[in-house]
Amino acid sequence: MDWNQVWFADWATISWHTGQNQVIIEELAILTPQDIELLCNLTDIPNNPPYITGYWTKDGQEIENSEETVNRNNEQYILKKTFSIHARDLGNYSCIFRENQAQVTFVLDVPVIKDKRDKPVVSYTGDSVVLECKLKHTPNTWNWYKANNTEKELINVTANPLNYKIFINGNETKLTVLNLTEEDSGKYICSAEFDIKPSESYIELRVLSYTEPLKPFIAIVVEVIVLVTLILLWEKCNKPQNDNFSNDLCSEQTSNLTRDESNGVENNTARQRKLEH
């Protein structure tokens, strides 16, 4: 054991409440292979027994020979264990006290790229797009890959200077893809290289052609033209009724009609009189 590399993790204090099953989770970011001491401190147990037993699990499976008897120490029970962590040892470590099932879980993993876009990035043919990855810790370097089905293909800027640009600034990286074509659509993987294991995240890129947004646009413009024409036409059709000239015309016609009607009535009555005679 190389003591220079022992890293004392944050220790978690569990207070036992009657009838409550608490699961506390602590996340630890591991950058390099190292030895880590995990410590669980249990306080406030009702009966204050002189000793209790506790054991460790990894990913839900009890670690062999990890069960320990912990003596009471000023009303605290401290369970600790040192683990040698390499790439394959990353996972969820839990300390469990047998008597009361109190549990603390330490999640040991490389730093996770959290602010990931779950929606695909959209861009257009001939345009350029910027894909970004950010982390809290600074990796040794960043790498970008393009996923082809199940394989990853490293993006090499020196081989394709016209198509790709990679910008690396400590804990963030940006990939600029230029001169987009439809084949550039797909999954892009940014990989933060740490000593222990790389941390990866993916971004999906969709490349559209210009006709895609053009369709709704033309639909709306056509709707606007139709509505404007309709409104102006309606106004023009209604307008002649309001003119004085056509009012006179209308009244003239109606007065002619009434005269004809009254003539017609007179004629009828005249005929009736004739018939009666």
Partner: protein, 467 residues
Amino acid sequence: MTQEKKKGGVLPPDGGWGWMIVAGCFVVTVCTRAVTRCISIFFVEFQMHFARDYSGTAWIHSLVDCTTMLCAPLGSLIGNRLSCRVAVILGGFLSSIGLVLSSFATSLKYLYLTLGVLTGLGFALCYTPAIAMVGIYFCERKALAYGIAMSGSGIGTFILAPVVQLLIEHYSWRGALLILGGFVSNLCVCGALLRPIILKEEEACPLPVDSECEYGVKPPTVNSVPTGKAVGDKLELDAKQRCFQSMQEYHFLLMPDFLVLAGSFLLLASGCSLPFVYLVPYALDVGVGHQHAAFLMSILGVIDIIGNITFGWLTDRRCLKKYRNICYMFAVGMEGLCCLFIPLLHTFVLLVPFSVLYGYFDGAYVALIPVVTSDIVGTTYLSSALGVVYFLHAVPYLVSPPIGGWLVDTTGTYTATFFLSGFALISSSLLLFSVAVIRRCQRNQKNSLSKDPKLVSYLMIIIPATS
């Protein structure tokens, strides 16, 4: 029909086609004010694409807002010269082209020009004529009509914000700007709806006035120049009449009442934009969570809409109509008072009533601005007056948020900024109030003096009769 004379003068319809005008103005407000607010959603995309920081992209929003307000007099000028319909259709065309061009942007400066200047100019050409038309078509229910029309900015923001977000997700910012340009071309439809109407040449709408309140003074209308042209069809004029008319159009600028109103608007615009910008940062500073802070802004927006419509309806009631100006002063004053209480509010639960009250009174005064303006200058000059009023809003809108930011940086708290806002609003209200009080005293004095001459002339009439 019997109201129509041979010259074509009509009383304000107060309904009928007027409601189509209100619908048109509502859509104009949605397409201009709401789209302006939604432009800030594009900032993150612009920052990523052009690799610039927040201040570079924030200029776009300021440019659009500023250009819209600065060019408002231009909008009212075109509305007067040609017609409101032509102005709005032209504005819709320009802003639509601006948005479509900006979808092809290759740099941020290009965006400043197309999105900032061109689109802002288009919006300016639409905004003032549409609002003026509502004032022409309505008399009795003017405040309610304005309330409904102005609520477009709140409702529009509420609906457009998620829609724009969705468009950006599906089509990226270029496609979203293109489709937004298509959406904004609906301004042309609103323009087509703005049917010209010629009102009677004298003031057709009796102003809600009691004899004591000076705000009833009308500008002298000269009948020889067809002033109905302010909203009417094109008439044949020769150059001399045109010159005379432009003097006539801006005659109201010299009215003392309008000058006082203009001063109060300057103060108002300085104060009212600050809380909108600094409420969320203040909430975050005080310890409110991100989601709760965003919720405060949503509450503000929704209550804004309610304030628009209900206050407009309220001030149309006969009992309150005479006191519309006092209602306006009250709304502005209460807004200022709310701002002064901010330093005492440092939890989310305490900030919610602030959002509610501030949002309500903000909606209230926005609906009343065109009403109060038309009460002072009359319907004929409403278009030009509104142009000047919104022009006066431009510079404070541009200047006061950075000043607020400077105050925050130097004092370290947001108290000074909110106090500035509160005092500006309260002084705007007090200015109007004190002038109203002075006028009232002057009137009382005049009335008491003029009683005597009446008596004398009465006696003179009696004496010859008896002699």
